[in-house]
Symmetry: C2
Subunit: 350 residues, 2 copies
Amino acid sequence: MSYPVRSYAAHSPTGRLGLFEFERRSARDTDVVIEIDYCGVCHSDLHNVRNDWGNAEYPMVPGHEIIGRVIATGSAVSRFKAGDRVGVGCMVDSCQHCASCGKGWEQYCENGASYTYNGIDKVDGSRTHGGYCEKIVVSQDFVLKVPETLDPAAAAPLLCAGITTWSPLRHWKVGPGSRVAIVGLGGLGHMGLKLAKALGAEVTLLSRSPGKEADARRLGADHIVISTDEAQMAAVAGRFDLIIDTVPYEHDVNPYVPTLAVGGTLVMVGYLGPLDAFNTAPLVFARKALAGSLIGGIAETQEMLDFCGEHGITSEVEVIRIQDINEAYERLLKADVKYRFVIDMASLKD
Amino acid sequence: MSYPVRSYAAHSPTGRLGLFEFERRSARDTDVVIEIDYCGVCHSDLHNVRNDWGNAEYPMVPGHEIIGRVIATGSAVSRFKAGDRVGVGCMVDSCQHCASCGKGWEQYCENGASYTYNGIDKVDGSRTHGGYCEKIVVSQDFVLKVPETLDPAAAAPLLCAGITTWSPLRHWKVGPGSRVAIVGLGGLGHMGLKLAKALGAEVTLLSRSPGKEADARRLGADHIVISTDEAQMAAVAGRFDLIIDTVPYEHDVNPYVPTLAVGGTLVMVGYLGPLDAFNTAPLVFARKALAGSLIGGIAETQEMLDFCGEHGITSEVEVIRIQDINEAYERLLKADVKYRFVIDMASLKD
């Protein structure tokens, strides 16, 4: 039994979304069928639908911050049952046998993870479609349990914005005594503040523009440093063990490096592309590193969701109707959202 | 009792060296007085005497790969006695109380280590002078014990070229099962091959030019990859846990990043300066890092010397007379040395 579904899709690189009806596959033995309640709007959705990365195929149904409930399961599914509150993030499959998968790093699968949309189904070779949709059918190995105590709309961004900041915080062993800086206060940045604070770190927001102090403090920042103010930056020289740079466009990262402590790491999670004249000298003189990090593995994502359940952490969201998605994309381009749009998928029925 | 000494010094940014006589200070209570037998010629000597880094003061006596024998000790020196075979590397002092010094990372001293030459003595504020000289007077905390079994001329480069490659090998936990690549086959690179191999790693030389195969294999390389050959580079995609890039001038490091394994690190030890259009995307997609590393701490340097003693590892050197130093610098600029010039300091008496 396949599932006819309504969705919103981009049909061309204009990136404008409109109604799209298609059939979700029937559940394989190990699949979970999910009725989608909410789907977050990630900045990468915009990059994808506008073909900024050159790999778009249309029609494309975006969305990889998916929250829903199980409505059916394949015969071999043991971990989920109808009615469970679940989530799906950026991946729906990986090879499961390479070294990365063996370490629980499915996001770095050496044979290529299958992305939730604009990807390829490993079984039948079809295109994957994401969460701006009524239903999704996903292998149980890539379905996450979402604590019932969390507001489901506000929990949706945990599946991408949350895990993208959680993974480097955990990989670089942030905890009490750590000094962490977050660059940028958007969808990723505001989750970085919340998660770093909940892990016990001393947390600083590095922001180009003033006026974010009250919000940043409410979200978990102990300090706010205006990164265009040389005196403020000099005052935090050598301070941070980890800087998570969430800015999703090209920018000069050189000014951040001197604020790293000896042995510290600046990890890029938002921007993919060339840096202009990145200077190696400050790396050499204090064994610093410039690193990158991509979402997180499945076990790590479950760990993050459980942690958020225990600590009552969700994203700050503005819930929209699917019919308002094109306007939301325009506002996203202007960073006019605090801090994540989430689509109420019930609106698809309107 | 101060020590009148002959040395070779640069007197101007022409970088040409000539005889220079001055007085070494008398030994403080914790100082060791060393008669210098050999001093290696590091590529950074050339940068320094030509003021490439903008901080040169003249006259400047270069040299920080110093091997000699103790001839006198201050009253509070307990670890050394006259006749001991000793070495001095790139540092002669550090604050000894910052977090970095506390971890044995004197090279990253937060208050600034005192470099062996073109530096400042922390006690009296005088300029430091290096190893192209008859004698040097150094705090016992910065004097290394050199195994008597090692050839002293060939051991000199261990004090900089050796420790500069050893420190990242140890910091990034290279051992049996590790896959290490060395970029560049010069003074640093040839030590990287030897030390990585002795630590049990599978070792690859990444070289821009062919013709180095026999030498590289003799020095410890299991494989040689011509880095300008796209097919050869594609064949080692995702292979290396650690790449040590020893190239001392600006070059494109982007082609090396895809050869890193997931989670791998490319560590720069030779070049200080801006990289043109360094691409962050491959870092993000496989949690890779671009890092830097500077020489090594004192305890780590002693560990390296002891390891070299046990394994019979020294540098490949061409021993020269001090009177030939200007010609050696010209040859160094053309990479015309296998693999390190070492000055026989007895020639100063000629």
